[in-house]
């Protein structure tokens, strides 16, 4: 009689439990895929930061007129800066920047023409 005072819970059937487990597994699989995707996006963020650094370096080069070729190494990437006269127009210089990852692969570039004097 004392047991009757507790609430009664209707148990799930075996099929219901199995379906629920399958759905849960699918949901988790899907979540893992998304997390993976987000991680890839995080690596895109690192690439974007490096690209923005390259543009920042271009702006600095123009501001201080440091028109010399150089290779600048950062923690996860390097920027190769090349300065040369524009073919057929000596009055112009081409500032060419190449962004390379840790493996040396080119992941971005930018060029800009400036007056030689």
């Amino acid at each position: 009689m004392a047991l009757k005072k507790y609430k009664t819970v209707k148990a799930s059937s075996l099929i219901e439990t199995i379906v629920a487990m399958i759905v849960l597994v699918l949901v988790f699989l899907f979540s893992v895929m998304i997390v993976n995707n987000v991680m890839q996006t995080a690596s895109l963020g690192a690439k974007t930061k490096a690209t923005l650094k390259m543009y920042e370096l271009l702006a600095e080069t123009k501001q201080y007129k440091t028109y010399t070729s150089e290779n600048i190494a950062y923690e996860n990437f390097t920027i190769d800066k090349q300065v040369g006269a524009k073919p057929g127009n000596e009055a112009l210089l081409i500032l060419a920047f190449e962004l390379k990852d840790e493996k040396g692969l080119v992941i971005g570039n930018v060029k800009e023409e400036v007056l030689a004097q």
Partner: protein, 413 residues
């Protein structure tokens, strides 16, 4: 009673997890899209800067009305330039584009001065050299008749200036007078006659408006009564009047061109504009015309009396003053720079300049004609200052006068 219903609970949890993850997916998608756009616009901006740099050193022959090219011949960096005259300067609209994305900038450009335009004084050849009197100062190279400069007593005033009469080289004037650029002269003639078929007048009685340089020019004809109600006008606008007009201090004009037979700039007025007239331009006391302003006087009728530009005491013009007669040996044109007036830039006249004020820049004229209360003296300066070193090193002139091949940006529009 609580139902165990595991499937139902799992579905609810899955829905919530699904909603969260799909919002993450969308956020990531738009983030990547925005980053891609940012990088494209950054690249377009560098291409735009490159196009501006190329335009600065491009040969005159290469510049046509509209030009499209690939910067590095890689098929990825397309830019275009559209050039059109704007008063004595020119306007360039430079665009960089990639697929459906495009950025554009407009600017007024001119040219750095050629050696002969960069002189303090450039007088026409005659038998009378330069004579200086009073507290006159001349700093900069000078092209003088006979290559001569000496002191003189004018109206009882002795020379009290620096021991060096000319602080710079003195070069003998050439017998060949300085020629104005025929393209700009032709454009100014067209503006004054308003005869080109391109000039269709816009009907408006608006008292204030701004018109972008990326659109076609507005040619507006205003009566003096309409002008009185005008409060603000900025941009790609040519303001016409076939009668003499007086500007008012309540009228804020910026970058516009004013074309009329005569224009009076009132006292204490401040603006940056170009005024093109046939009869006279008077800048009254304490008026300031900011860079890049231009006062252009074109005497195009030989029967007309004296045509003149006058700058009164306390007035200041930063830019170019140009007065010329279209008739050879015509001397009824004069630029009067009275005592207390200042010009920061360039003064040109193919006839006469009466200079008693301060020129932070140079004068190119056939003759200096000093008019005092008691006398008229040729090629004389009395209590004047002509100092080319006080002109800003960033000053950019018009190709109406001799200039170098190097272009420069006068103003971003």
């Amino acid at each position: 009673m609580i139902r165990a219903s595991a499937l139902f609970i799992v579905l609810v949890v899955s829905f919530v997890v699904g909603a969260i993850t799909s919002s993450i997916v969308f956020a990531t998608f738009y983030y990547r899209l925005e980053v891609a756009d940012l990088l494209i616009y950054k690249k377009l901006n560098t291409n735009l800067n490159s196009a501006v740099a190329e335009l600065k050193v491009m040969s005159e022959e290469s510049i046509v009305d509209s030009l499209v090219w690939d910067l590095y011949d890689e098929g990825q960096d397309s830019v275009s330039v559209k050039v059109s005259p704007w008063g004595i300067f020119e306007i360039a609209q430079v665009s960089a584009f990639s697929n459906n994305k495009k950025i554009q900038k407009s600017f007024l450009f001119g040219y750095t001065l050629a050696k002969e335009s960069n002189a303090a004084l450039h007088l026409g050849d005659s038998d009378r050299g330069l004579r200086v009197s009073g507290k006159t100062t001349v700093v900069g190279d000078c092209y003088l008749p006979q290559g001569v400069v000496k002191v003189a007593n004018i109206d009882g005033s002795f020379y009290q200036g620096p021991s060096k009469l000319v602080d710079g080289l003195v070069i003998k004037s050439s017998k060949v007078p300085i020629k104005l650029n025929p393209t700009i002269v032709h454009y100014l003639d067209d503006l004054l006659a308003a005869k080109s078929e391109n000039y269709s007048f816009t009907e408006t009685d608006t008292s204030a408006f701004v018109h972008s340089f990326s659109k076609d020019t507005y040619f507006i004809e205003y009566s003096q009564a309409q002008l009185q109600s005008l409060t603000r006008m900025k941009g790609n606008i040519v303001l016409y009047s076939n009668k003499p007009i007086s500007l008012t201090t309540t009228m804020r004009l910026e970058d516009v061109i004013v074309v009329a037979p005569s224009v009076i700039v009132p006292e204490n007025y401040k603006a940056a504009l170009q005024i093109i007239c046939t009869d006279s331009i008077v800048v009254k006391e304490n008026a300031t015309l900011l860079y890049p302003s231009a006062l252009v006087l074109v005497k195009n009728k030989s029967t007309m009396p004296l045509a003149y530009i006058s700058l009164n005491k306390g007035s200041e013009v930063r830019g170019v003053i140009c007065a010329y007669s279209k008739f050879v040996n015509e001397e009824n044109v004069i630029v009067n720079i009275y005592k207390g007036a200042t010009v920061h830039g360039q003064v040109f006249s193919n006839a006469n300049v009466n200079c008693q004020g301060v020129i932070k820049g140079g004068i190119i004229t056939n003759k200096l004609l000093l008019k005092t209360n008691v006398s008229i003296n040729e090629n004389c300066l009395l209590d004047a200052e002509v100092n080319v070193s006080k002109r800003s090193p960033h000053f950019i002139g018009s190709k109406l006068l001799p200039v170098s091949k190097q272009r420069g940006i006068v103003k971003w529009l």
